[in-house]
Amino acid sequence: MSVAKRIIPCLDVNDGRVVKGINFVKLKDAGDPVEIAKKYNEEGADELTFLDITASSDNRGLLFDIVEKVAKQIFIPLTVGGGVRSCEDIRNLLNSGADKVGINTSAILKPELVAESTSRFGSQAIVVAIDAKKVGDHWEVFTHGGRNATGINAVSWAQKMAKLGAGELLITSMDRDGTKKGFDNVLMKLISDVVEVPIIASGGVGILQHLVDGVKDGEADAVLAASIFHYGEFTIQEAKQYMAENNIEVRL
């Protein structure tokens, strides 16, 4: 008996609408975040992650509106990330109903934001997202959606973030993202071995076996996926059944 491995569907939000998930069947409004969140909740998602990809910060208000609506009707943890720059941003997201806030680029630009926000809101509220790409024989942290190299070693960066108080780390392999080849489990295991906080594996899921591999080989505590769920290839329930059949503890 132990804590279940989590399955987390990730929803990309732009200007107040979910931009993936257009192939959902039976949804009155395909891009409606509340409807999609409800569907995932009914299928047994363990958490939901909203990633704000809105280019302009002018439209931030729409995101708060979504989080507020979802939080009023769906009672599982909600994580919101994308463009978070300050404690003020974090406070506004938490006040809208987010349980956790993801910080990525800002953690690189201002590592003190991680220390400050975790001491103010608690470690449980802060997820540090790390986008990593293999360079030679090691992994480096990239920012701005994988465009900018930082020269920082991803494994030592993960350790530093955990030390500063991050409650959880979301590790995305830029090499695997969108490839459907599976997680970069070598990287996941390297990080999982050196931090005591839970890690979420992200980037590359194409088939259900990849979720199993992320837990068994990558030793991830949670697995995040977007397209396999959005495009109706698999339901969350199917993913959980498959993991259970492979002797992984899940919440069925």
Binding site: M1, S2, V3, A4, K5, R6, N41, D46, A71, K72, Q73, F75, I76, P77, L94, N95, G97, A98, D99, F121, G122, S123, Q124, A125, G167, E168, E196, V197, P198, E219, D221, A222, R251
Partner: protein
């Protein structure tokens, strides 16, 4: 009226949202006003963050006494840190809690063999160890959502209502008279969490 104690840390909206969702006719107020706490029929004491901060913020708002008073009289639900605060002492910052329940709050120990992670985060099984009206329609070994690094070790095992396991077995629900407290987050535990909150609303001591 249900008072949800606000001491300025964490997301309290989720508890309020959950109560409003299951029982729109029940008035619930997120409050840091001692008078409202005193007038409330029931009190929910949610918690996030660290125990030393919590004590500091309660004292700053003049809330400590009214919360303790409520915990002695009316249906009182402690959640997460709200459970830990009811105990005598804590390893977290070496502070004292309210001392309403016998025992101490301890930190999980890293266990390399079992590779446990701290914080204990996610859906874990809750094994019921006693009957209680708060367990109405909740089966033993159902999963609830946890997120914490500390847990309370109760010295009077008769008070233990449920256990869970993370590297070691620990108490995750406690009851004494009008107090019921859980280490997990019912407001984030989907249907079963909402059931527990429903049970609280209709719990008659």
């Amino acid at each position: 009226m249900i008072a949800i104690i606000d001491y300025g840390i964490g997301n309290l909206k989720s508890v309020h949202n959950a109560v409003s969702f299951i029982s729109p006719q029940t008035k619930s107020i997120v409050t840091s006003d001692p008078d409202i706490v005193a007038k409330a029929d029931r009190v929910i004491f949610p918690g996030q963050g660290a125990m030393p901060d919590c004590i500091l913020q309660l004292e700053k708002r003049g809330l400590k006494e009214s919360v303790i008073e409520a915990a002695k009289q009316k249906p009182f639900l402690g959640i997460c840190l709200g459970l830990q605060m009811l105990f005598e002492t804590s390893e977290e910052g070496g502070v004292n809690g309210f001392g309403l329940l016998p025992g101490a709050v301890k930190r999980f120990q890293l266990n390399k063999n079992e590779r446990i992670k701290i914080p204990h985060m996610g859906w874990n099984k809750v094994h019921l160890s006693n009957t209680h009206p708060m367990w109405n329609k909740i089966d033993s070994d159902s999963r609830f959502y946890f997120v914490h690094s500390f847990y309370a070790e109760v010295t009077n095992k008769n008070l233990e209502m449920a256990t869970s396991s993370h590297g070691e077995k620990f108490t995750c629900a406690i009851a004494k008279d009008n107090i019921f407290a859980v280490q997990f987050h019912p407001e984030k535990s989907s249907e079963l969490g909402l059931q527990l909150l429903k049970n609280f609303i209709s719990w008659n001591i």
